[in-house]
């Protein structure tokens, strides 16, 4: 019974934890502009994160080594350091975006300017990362994030022309009035939203925090293969709501308030309150994940003690890195750069940086020295290699359309 409960909890947190500020913004933005014609990019990203997270979860459970240990072991100290710098920069950018997202959500709830909420959000995030037990932190954020299911309810209550919506989803192509570079720019943004590097740092380090063993490989797989696709459905619901309500009005999304409007239209006040709770939970949860991931990646590269399973003073430099990154993230948002803009850039740079962490995991997942009999099977390797190609293409292709379209304008 306890095991069933554990698995159910894992699935629910995986669903609730899947969506963050990047998914919210990218999906609403794309839904309002392209309908569901880019749903394939989200689907591709979800399959990718499943393949990626399954491998790193298995490595964490069997070999007890989190992602960045492997990065340094396989790429060596020099390229590993360059990788650390790039990954840290992207994660830090995402961290800033999440802190900004929390503040924007609180502004919607209170109409107090988001800049005043930024220090509050930062302090709250630090206190949780400093004091709250890992499992409590992960489960609470994940479960509260489930409130975003309200977007599914909203889409259902909007009672859209389902066949037409579905038809959009299965017939990719840029709609009239939108150029092909813009279309691909947003395809990469959606892909980056579903497949952010920090998710894997967090997932694999979390496995070590929770002392996964070989027995937990199955649990980890169920979490990934059930939780993430359902989380991806939430993303698609956000896009669907925007496609049904905002697209016909000629509204393009550039604020978090617009993301929630369809819920107000379809469900009303209470529904919107639930959605705002979901915004806060999803962004705050992701702020914790990205903040810890900054600490994880640096500490794992240098071999320092890390993690919340020891007293903070026993992992002094890990907590110092987390604290410094938090200050930088809060400072970045306080420069008054629009958090939505920060989010959009973080998505594209996520896509650029992804091969750096993906490749070492794929190599280790094939190494019997680490995994013994649990090395990649034929299916895992087929998908692993397929996605290596996809990730490389997305990484190389990310920058030119961004410059060509001035970030999708």
């Amino acid at each position: 019974m306890k095991r069933v409960f554990g698995v159910a909890l894992g699935i629910l947190t995986a669903i609730g934890g899947f969506v963050d500020i990047g998914d919210l913004v990218a999906n609403a933005l794309v839904g309002a502009r392209f309908g569901l014609t880019l749903a394939w990019a989200t689907v591709l990203g979800v399959i990718g994160i499943c393949v990626f997270a399954e491998m790193s979860g298995r490595v964490a459970a069997v070999a007890g080594r989190p992602t960045f240990d492997l990065v340094r072991e396989r790429l060596g100290p020099r390229i590993g350091l360059a990788n650390l710098a790039a990954s840290l920069l992207v994660t830090l950018l995402t961290f800033s975006a999440e802190i900004g997202g929390v503040a924007l959500a609180l502004e919607l709830a209170t109409s107090v300017n988001y800049l005043l909420w930024v220090p509050v959000a930062g302090l709250a995030a630090w206190l949780v990362m400093w004091r709250v037990r890992f499992s409590v932190l992960e489960n609470t954020a994940g479960l509260l994030g489930l409130t975003l299911v309200i977007f599914g309810v909203a889409l259902w209550r909007l009672n859209p022309d389902w066949p037409q919506l579905l038809n959009q989803g299965i017939s990719p192509g840029n709609p009239p009035g939108e150029g092909l570079p813009t279309y691909f720019y947003y395809a990469i943004a959606l892909f980056g939203a579903a497949m952010t590097p920090y998710e894997v740092f967090f997932f694999s380090s979390g496995g070590v925090e929770e002392r996964w063993t070989r027995k937990d490989v199955v649990t980890s797989r169920v979490n990934v293969f059930v939780g993430f696709p359902l989380g991806g459905l939430l993303s698609l619901a956000v896009a669907g709501c925007a496609a049904v309500v905002l697209l016909p009005q000629g509204i393009t999304v550039d604020t978090l308030g617009q993301v929630g409007l369809p819920v107000a239209v379809a469900v009303g006040k209470l529904g919107l309150a639930v959605a705002i709770l979901g915004f806060v939970a999803a962004t705050f949860g992701a702020a914790l994940e990205t903040g810890l991931s900054c600490g994880y990646s640096v500490a794992q590269y240098f071999g320092w003690q890390w993690g919340k399973y020891v007293r903070p003073r026993e992992a002094a430099r890990f907590h110092l890195v987390v604290l410094v990154c938090l200050i930088v993230a809060v400072g970045t948002v306080l420069t008054t750069i629009d958090p939505i803009t920060i989010t959009e850039y973080s998505l594209v740079f996520s896509a650029v940086a992804l091969p750096l962490t993906y490749l070492p995991i794929l190599v280790i997942a094939n190494d019997p020295d680490y995994l013994g009999a649990r090395v990649n099977g034929r299916v895992a390797n087929l998908f692993g290699t397929l996605f290596l190609v996809v990730i490389l293409v997305a990484s190389v292709a990310a920058i030119p359309p961004m410059l060509a379209t001035r970030a999708g304008q």
Binding site: G177, Q249, G250, G257
Partner: protein, 144 residues
Amino acid sequence: MRWLPAVLAIAALTGCVGPAPTTGEYEEKAAHTAADALSQLQTARLAVGNAGRMPASYLETVLVDAEEAFGSIESTFDSIQPPDDPRADRLRSDLDGLLSDGSDGMTQLRVLARRSDAAGLRSTAEQLVATADGLGRFAREHGS
């Protein structure tokens, strides 16, 4: 060439707007401006139309954001030097009229929302239908 990526990044981040040299380009920018402004105006109208279905704080935040964005779209367009061509001048005055109507209306909406004046909000939003239609038509006629 170490500085090149930095320059590219800054250029991309600021999305710098230069003077529009030809009438064709000016027209394209005007159409783009109309579409962007329409998006903000429609956001405000959609929010006001559903004012009873959201907390006051939410309505106010959405209206303030839309008003600010509308203002910055308007001032960006005004900062573009139109080419010396009567057609460009006509484009400019047509769009300017729509933008200033929209901008006045959005300010009015924000003021009324802060006063929780539901009837005032409805009637002001009603008056903005013509502006929204105008912006939509402008964007369609002059867009590529």
